[in-house]
């Protein structure tokens, strides 16, 4: 693999950085940095309404970004809403779709969700008397598809778990949701960094993800929703650009996606995300997937051989993304991460914003290695060298 060379941070002079924290924030390639820099130095302006040449260029670049993101997801550009991030996207859905729900309606999430796909629904429950149900997870950290209550109006689940790496059985969930007439929202934060997503083939209704985990800038994310839903949903945030008209008496919202993009959008972030999606779309994903899976296999095999290690998540490679979390005897994840850092290995330790999942496994936290397309065997080598040292010092 030679993709690593596109990432300036990973190619700085000095000892190798084994960046195994891509699940938190992925590194960003030259092509994205250049797209953002070009905007800032050649066409920086506000979008929409402006007719001078910079405003026209900015508006076109922003529109193109929407097309590039849409193409990555095989959907139509006017179903793409740019948000502040995946969290912003899920909150938008919780508010706008949430206002269409009635007390007594139910929403299903799972025990493995990221807090960003739990707390907005807890808040909606408090606001509006909707009930939040939690689908259980099995011993391998996979969502168990259960019979849904007939009052379920929405099933909101992680496409890929940010802790266990388990890939959701989307077909089974969509079938069960259809049976009870519920909509399906996928939190794709951990899925979009691993290749284009064919949303129509998935058959879901909402899809949310973040720019910064998909090799693009921080501060931008996406909510995709079916046009009919975007039309039916009231706006969430109020402000400039999301209106057709405003008086002292009230306002009329604009059409989607503008209706959901109040105020000046994260223009440079969206342009960076568009560039990232366009670049990712050119890559050989069969090869990358095989590569990511092989490295994941090395992690799983190597961890199995270490006394006192338990992998929290699927033990095999089936339906699995390159995210591996583990517990090492009594050692605290922060201590493990700190020692690994001295070996140049970037890991994350803690509850990974998934306390219910950790409570289920009776752990305060785990240590997580999460890979991306730029990871190589040398990173895995460093990981195991660091782990041996951590084990020696801490246990």
């Amino acid at each position: 693999m030679t993709l690593r060379r596109h990432f300036p941070l990973l190619n700085r002079p000095g000892p190798r950085i084994a960046y195994l924290d891509s699940g938190a924030t992925a590194q960003t390639p030259d092509i994205v940095l250049d797209a953002v820099r070009k905007f800032e130095t050649h066409s920086r302006a506000n979008v929409k309404r402006g007719v001078h040449r910079l405003a026209e260029a900015a508006t076109e670049a922003y529109a193109k970004a929407r097309e590039q993101v849409a193409a990555y997801l095989s959907v139509s550009a006017d179903e793409i809403v740019f948000t502040s991030g995946c969290t912003g996207a899920i909150n938008l859905a919780a508010h706008s779709f949430g206002t269409l729900l009635k007390p007594g309606d139910e929403i299903a999430v799972s025990e493995l969700e990221h807090h960003s796909n739990i707390v907005p629904w807890h808040m909606l429950a408090t606001r509006s008397g909707v009930k939040v149900n939690f689908l259980p997870i099995d011993g391998e950290g996979r969502v168990v598809v259960q019979t849904l209550s007939p009052r379920t109006k929405l099933v909101a689940l992680a496409h890929v778990s940010n802790v266990t790496g388990a890939v959701l059985d989307v077909a089974a969930i969509v079938a069960e949701a259809k049976r009870v007439g519920a909509r399906v929202l996928l939190d794709g934060a951990q899925r979009t960094p691993h290749g284009p997503v064919d949303i129509p083939a998935l058959g879901v209704d909402f899809y949310a993800f973040s720019g910064h985990k998909t090799f693009a800038p921080h501060g931008v994310g996406v909510l995709w929703a079916k046009a009919e839903l975007l039309d039916a949903m009231p706006p969430f945030l109020g402000g400039g650009e999301m209106i057709a008209s405003v008086t002292t008496q009230g306002f009329t919202p604009a059409k989607a996606p503008a209706k959901f993009e109040a105020g000046t959008p994260p223009i440079s972030g969206a342009i960076g995300l568009g560039a990232a999606c366009a670049w990712l779309a050119t890559l050989d994903w069969a090869a990358i997937a095989a590569h990511e899976l092989r490295l994941t296999g090395r992690l799983l095999d190597g961890l199995r051989a270490v006394d006192g290690v338990t992998v929290i998540g699927p033990q095999g490679l089936q339906c699995r993304a390159p995210v591996v979390s583990f517990d090492l005897a009594d050692a605290h994840p922060h201590d493990i991460c700190q020692i690994m850092d001295r070996h140049g290995v970037a890991l994350r330790g803690g509850h990974h914003c998934a306390q219910p999942l950790h409570a289920k496994f009776d752990l305060a936290g785990t240590t997580r290695a999460s890979l991306a397309l730029y990871c190589e065997d040398a990173d895995i080598d460093l990981f195991f060298a660091g782990l041996a040292e951590a084990k020696r010092v801490l246990t």
Partner: protein, 134 residues
């Protein structure tokens, strides 16, 4: 064709008052472009499919004014369905950078300014809405 948007032929159309009228509220149909605040009111009737008495009132930019004037000019006294279809083809061609017969050729420089295309198209929405009931 000149690159300047506001060349003489276009401004002549924009200032052409032949079919302009002070249409009181409630007359004809009114369409809006909320993005730029343009508003076109269009009135007229069909007699055996022939467009008659076309009158427009435009609160909008010169491009919108010119487009409304051009549309009224090519429609008045013509079989509405065909004339609208022909005008539509012409305006789409010219906005895509292609050729178009007069008076639509006056809009050629607009092709490069995507943000202004809607200004030219607004009168088309109005005419379609005006004659859609028939």
């Amino acid at each position: 064709m000149n690159d300047a948007l506001y060349h003489d032929a276009l401004m002549a159309l924009a200032k052409d008052r032949t079919h302009a009228a002070a249409l009181p509220p409630g007359t004809g149909v009114t369409v809006d472009n909320p993005l730029c605040g343009d508003r076109v009111t269009l009135d007229g009737k069909l007699e055996n499919g022939i467009a008659r008495d076309l009158r427009h009132k435009v609160r909008g930019c010169a491009l919108c004014q010119a487009s409304a004037a051009a549309l009224a000019r090519v429609l008045d006294g013509k079989p509405a369905a065909t004339a609208i279809a022909e005008a539509q083809v012409a305006v789409e061609s010219v906005l895509a950078g292609g050729p178009a017969p007069a008076p639509w050729d006056a809009f050629a420089p607009v092709a490069r300014h995507k943000s202004r295309h809607d200004c030219v198209k607004l009168p088309f929405s109005a005419v379609k809405s005006l004659f859609s009931g028939t």
